[in-house]
C-alpha cells in the first residue's frame, strides 16, 4: 500500500523526522486558507502515482492570487489516470543543499538497504546512471538490523560541507530505519532531504510504501487507504477480494491464478489483442467470485469482449460455469464472451454451458485467438 506524501509526512512527524509546515486542502478555498498566514508556499498534488512534478502537479506560489490559481489548476488535473482531489500546501524551504536518503527492501540480498547520496532531488535511478560514485549503499541484515557503526561509516565519508550536519543526518537515518521496521514498510524515501539556509535538515518530500501482507498487524495504518485515491473498479475488486488491475485494452480477462492471469494477457497481446485488465479470482474461487469478477469487467466501458480462462485445479469448473450463467442472467451482459475451461469437473461445466448455447474452448491459444478476433469486430 502506497501512502500519499502527506500521510507519509504524518508518519515522519510521529517518528521525529523534521517536515515542512503544511496542510492538506481539498479545494481552492481550503488552499487559500492554508496559505493565509504565509502565501509563500509550494502546492503539491496528492496522488498515488509517480511523475507528478513533470505532469505539472507541483507549483510554487508567492501571493494569495498565485495560491488560488495554482491550487485551482492542480485540483482540476488528472495525472496518469488519477484525478487529483487534494493538494498539500507547504511552506517554501530555503534550500541550501539537497540530499537523498531511503531505506528499502532488498530482494537480492534478502534483507534491507539504506541508500544515501549527497546529490538529492532527482530520481535515484537517474542518479545511479549519472553519478553512481555518489550513491552510498549499506546492506542491513534482518538480524541484527541496522548497527550504528554502519551509519558512522557513511557519515565519515561525507564531504566537508555536508559533514557539518552529520549529527542531524545520523538522527534522521536512524529514525527513518525505525519507521521502516515498525510499520513493515517496503520503502521509506526522503528525496530530497533538504539542508536549509538555517542549517536544518528537513524532509522536503516523503514516500512510504507498506507491505500489504503485514497490514493485518497495522490497524493504525488502514485509515490511510482513502476510497477517493483508488481507481473505482480497482477499489470495488479489492473489496470483493479479487486481485484486479485496470489497463487500457478492450479484452477483459477473468483468470484463476496470478501467473496464468499474466500469461493470459501476454497471449492475447501475442496474437494481436489488447488486454483490458489483470484479474485473478483466487485459488478457492466459487460461483460468487466469478459473478463478482464479471460484474466488474462488465462495468469497464472500454471492454467489448470478455475472455474467461480457467484452469480447474482446486477451482471447480462446474462452479465457474454456474457463476458465468448466473452473471449472464442477472447482469445482462452485452459484451462478447469467450470461455476457456479445463480441469476439475470440466465435463459437467461443458454440459451446463452447452445447454445455454455457450461455446467452450479447451485450449488457451485457440480461445485467445478467438477473443482477439471478436474484439476487433465492430
Amino acid at each position: 500500500m502506497d501512502l500519499n506524501e502527506f500521510q507519509a509526512k504524518e508518519l515522519f512527524r510521529k517518528y521525529g523526522i523534521p517536515i515542512p509546515q503544511g496542510n492538506v486542502a481539498h479545494s481552492t478555498e481550503e488552499a487559500v486558507q492554508a496559505a493565509s498566514a504565509n502565501p509563500r508556499v509550494v502546492i503539491k498534488a496528492q496522488v498515488l502515482t509517480g511523475g507528478r512534478g513533470k505532469a505539472g502537479g507541483i507549483k510554487v506560489a508567492n501571493t494569495i492570487r498565485e495560491v488560488e490559481d495554482g491550487a485551482g489548476e492542480i485540483l482540476s488535473m488528472s495525472i496518469k489516470g488519477f484525478k487529483v482531489n487534494k493538494v498539500l500546501v507547504e511552506e517554501q524551504l530555503d534550500i541550501k543543499k539537497e540530499l537523498y536518503l531511503c531505506v528499502v527492501l532488498d530482494r537480492e540480498n534478502e534483507g534491507y538497504k539504506l541508500i544515501f547520496s549527497e546529490t538529492g532531488g532527482i530520481d535515484i535511478e537517474e542518479l545511479a546512471r549519472r553519478e553512481p560514485e555518489n550513491i552510498k549503499t549499506t546492506n542491513i541484515e534482518p538480524f541484527p538490523g541496522l548497527v550504528p557503526f554502519q551509519l558512522r561509516e557513511i557519515l565519515h565519508s561525507l564531504g566537508e560541507e555536508t559533514k557539518k550536519y552529520a549529527r542531524e543526518i545520523y538522527q534522521i537515518m536512524n529514525r527513518l530505519y525505525t519507521l521502516f521496521i515498525e510499520t513493515d514498510a517496503k520503502l521509506a524515501e526522503i528525496n530530497p532531504l533538504v539542508v536549509t539556509g538555517e542549517g536544518k535538515c528537513v524532509a522536503c518530500d516523503a514516500k512510504v510504501s507498506i507491505d500489504d501482507n503485514a497490514l493485518f498487524r497495522h490497524s493504525e495504518l488502514l485509515s490511510c487507504r482513502l476510497p477517493e485515491d483508488e481507481i473505482p473498479l480497482e477499489r470495488e475488486a479489492r473489496e470483493k477480494g479479487l486481485s484486479y488491475i485496470k489497463m487500457e485494452g478492450n479484452i477483459g480477462c477473468l483468470v484463476n491464478g496470478a501467473g496464468l492471469a499474466m500469461a493470459t494477457m501476454d497471449v492475447l497481446k501475442h496474437y494481436g489483442g489488447s488486454p483490458a485488465n489483470f484479474l485473478d479470482i483466487g485459488g478457492g474461487a466459487k460461483a460468487k467470485q466469478v459473478k463478482d469478477a464479471l460484474e466488474i469487467i462488465n462495468k469497464d466501458t472500454g471492454v467489448n469482449t470478455i475472455f474467461i480462462n480457467i484452469f480447474g485445479g482446486i477451482v471447480r469448473c462446474d462452479l465457474v460455469a454456474e457463476g458465468i450463467l448466473k452473471a449472464k442472467k442477472e447482469l445482462n451482459i452485452k459484451k462478447k464472451l469467450v470461455i476457456r475451461l479445463i480441469g476439475t469437473n470440466d465435463q459437467k461445466a461443458y454440459e451446463m454451458l452447452d445447454r445455454e448455447g455457450l461455446r467452450v474452448f479447451t485450449g488457451m491459444a485457440d480461445a485467445a485467438i478467438k477473443a482477439v478476433e471478436l474484439a476487433k469486430e465492430i
Binding site: F143, A261, V267, G312, M364
Partner: protein, 288 residues
C-alpha cells in the same frame, strides 16, 4: 530418482485442522503420499482424515518421525509454524501459505541459512514427484512420470504447462513451485542444483515471471555450470510497471524485473524461451 521427495517421504501437515489443511490431507493421501501425522494448535480430535494428529510438532515427530513438513497455517501464524519446524529438525519444509509479511520471512530465511534446511515457498503449490508423492495442492492427475524437471514461480500457469507436456506424452521427474513471493525459501538456482545431480532429469522447464532478478541469476548459473538443457516461459510481458500483479513478488520496480530483460538473459545463456505457454512441449521435445 527425483529431487526433494520420493515414495518413502514421511510427511507431516502443519495447520491440518483448517479447511485447506484437511482437504489437502485427504487429497495427498489419495495420491499415495505417506502423510504420517497432522499438527494444529487448535486441534480438537486425535486424527484428521484418519491420520494421527497432535497439538505440537514435537509430539508428531517423536511418534512418527516425519522428514518433510507442509504448512497450511494462516499467514499471521506462519512465522511461528515455520520456526517450529526448523527448531524441531525438519529438513524439508514446504510452505503453501500466501500473504506472509516479508519481514517475517526474511528472518526465517536468515535463521535457516546455516542450518541445512530446505524451505520451498511460501505462496506456492508445493512439490510433486509424479506417480510417487505429492506434497502440495496441485491437481495430481495432470502429472505424468518422466524426465523433465519443472521449476515455477506460479501455480495454475504451471498446471497449464504440465498438462501441455503430459498431453504430448512428456512426463516429469519432479515439479517444484518455488512460489510468488519477493524472497522465496529456495531460489531457481537452489532447485537447478538439485536437478543437475538428478539422473532422472534430462531437461528442465523454468517458469518465471516479472519482478526481481532471480531469472537473470538463474541464467548465469545455467550458462556457467548447469550442463542440462533448459526451456523457459516468462509471464508478464504485458504487465504495466509499478503494479503488483497478484503475486507479491511480481512487480517491475525502478525499471528492474521486466520480462524482456529476463528473456534476454535466458536466451543469452542458451535457454530456449517460449513465446506462448503452448509452445513449451515442442521446445522440450528437441532435447529428448
Amino acid at each position: 530418482m527425483s529431487i526433494l521427495l520420493d515414495r518413502s517421504s514421511r510427511i507431516v501437515i502443519q495447520g491440518a485442522a483448517g479447511v485447506e489443511g484437511m482437504f489437502h490431507t485427504e487429497q495427498m493421501l489419495s495420491y499415495g503420499s505417506r502423510v504420517v501425522a497432522g499438527v494444529d494448535p487448535s486441534l480438537k480430535t486425535d486424527n484428521i482424515a484418519g491420520v494421527p494428529a497432535y497439538k505440537l510438532l514435537k509430539e508428531a515427530i517423536s511418534n512418527h518421525s516425519p522428514d518433510t513438513s507442509i504448512i497450511f497455517v494462516p499467514a499471521p501464524f506462519a512465522f511461528d509454524a515455520i520456526m517450529e519446524a526448523i527448531y524441531c529438525g525438519i529438513k524439508t519444509i514446504i510452505v503453501i501459505t500466501e500473504g506472509i509479511p516479508i519481514t517475517d520471512f526474511l528472518k526465517i530465511k536468515q535463521y535457516s541459512r546455516d542450518r541445512d534446511v530446505c524451505i520451498i515457498g511460501p505462496n506456492c503449490p508445493g512439490v510433486i514427484v509424479p506417480e510417487e508423492c505429492k506434497a502440495g495442492i496441485m491437481p495430481g492427475h495432470i502429472f505424468k512420470k518422466g524426465e523433465v524437471g519443472v521449476i515455477s514461480r506460479s501455480g495454475t500457469l504451471t498446471y497449464e504447462i504440465v498438462l501441455a507436456l503430459s498431453s504430448s506424452g512428456i512426463g516429469q521427474s519432479t515439479c517444484v513451485g518455488i512460489g510468488g513471493d519477493p524472497v522465496p525459501g529456495s531460489s531457481f538456482i537452489d532447485i537447478l542444483k538439485k536437478f543437475k545431480d538428478d539422473e532422472q532429469t534430462r531437461v528442465v522447464v523454468l517458469i518465471g515471471e516479472i519482478g526481481g532478478s532471480a531469472e537473470e541469476m538463474a541464467a548465469e548459473y545455467i550458462r556457467s555450470e548447469f550442463g542440462k538443457p533448459v526451456v523457459a516461459f516468462i509471464a508478464g510481458k504485458s504487465a504495466p510497471p509499478g503494479k503488483t500483479m497478484g503475486h507479491a513478488g511480481a512487480i517491475i520496480s525502478a525499471g528492474v524485473g521486466t520480462a524482456e530483460e529476463k528473456i534476454e538473459a535466458l536466451e543469452r545463456a542458451g535457454v530456449k524461451t517460449a513465446s506462448v505457454p503452448d509452445r513449451i512441449p515442442e521446445l522440450v521435445r528437441e532435447y529428448l
